[in-house]
């Protein structure tokens, strides 16, 4: 979607390796989010940020960390990837008036 990009789009990694996913926005939104999407579970919140260096945990935060050193960038790190973290990851920005705008997603496979 315009204004929010994720990278990479696809990644295959081995169990135990660290992985970082990047979300970049050009909308200057305060709030940014990382969700994972799995069949039968819908979207589940991993972490979110409400400003530079201000982050908080979501529903499924174990095994994940985040950082936000600039308004426009929100990074999601899997410190030691496991097979249970194989998923599609979506970044989002939000406003009350418009709801969420999602990035295109990152399909991560941990082998």
């Amino acid at each position: 979607d315009a204004g929010i990009t994720q990278s990479p789009r696809h990644k295959v990694t081995e169990t135990g390796t660290p992985v970082t996913l990047r979300c970049h926005q050009t909308e200057n939104h305060r709030y940014m989010y990382w969700y994972r999407q799995d069949p039968g579970h819908g979207l589940r919140l991993i972490h979110y940020s409400y400003g530079v260096k201000d982050t908080d945990k979501g529903e499924v935060s174990d095994g994940y960390s985040v950082s936000r050193s600039k308004t426009e960038d929100f990074l999601l790190t899997l410190e030691s990837a496991t097979s249970s973290q194989t998923s599609v990851y979506f970044c989002a920005i939000s406003s009350t008036s418009y709801g969420y705008t999602f990035g295109s997603g990152t399909r991560l496979t941990v082998v």
Partner: protein, 111 residues
């Protein structure tokens, strides 16, 4: 525990027929959003409902919100194949500006 429940989870319907998808949520909120997701794609915003009694229509889709009943509906009129997708509702709980998603309704429209 907060719950957002959609039903049905799977819906197969013939072209030209009408049907309704339901979204129930377990706590007070005045803001609800509907999204559409095509296979392998990101989520696209359909409707933003920001008050009790809100009704929005776009083409063959109409969404409504009853905050007293904690219920939103997405009504499909005279379905066409192009409406085949997964539909999600999301509720804004105004806690950290977080949205909570239903598990989605997978809609297949059969010619």
């Amino acid at each position: 525990e907060l719950k957002v429940e959609q039903n049905p989870l799977f819906l197969s319907m013939q072209e030209g027929k009408n049907y309704t998808i339901y979204c129930n949520y377990s706590t007070t909120s005045d803001r609800l959003y509907w999204y559409r997701q095509d296979p392998g794609k990101s989520l696209e915003s359909l409707f933003v409902l920001l008050s009790n009694g809100a009704v929005k229509q776009e083409g063959r889709l109409m969404a409504s919100l009853d905050t007293k009943a904690r219920l939103s509906t997405l009504h499909i009129t005279a379905a066409v194949h192009d409406l085949s997708a997964t539909y999600f509702c999301a509720v804004d709980m105004s806690t950290g500006n977080q949205f909570y998603f239903g598990t989605g309704t997978s809609l297949t429209v059969i010619p």
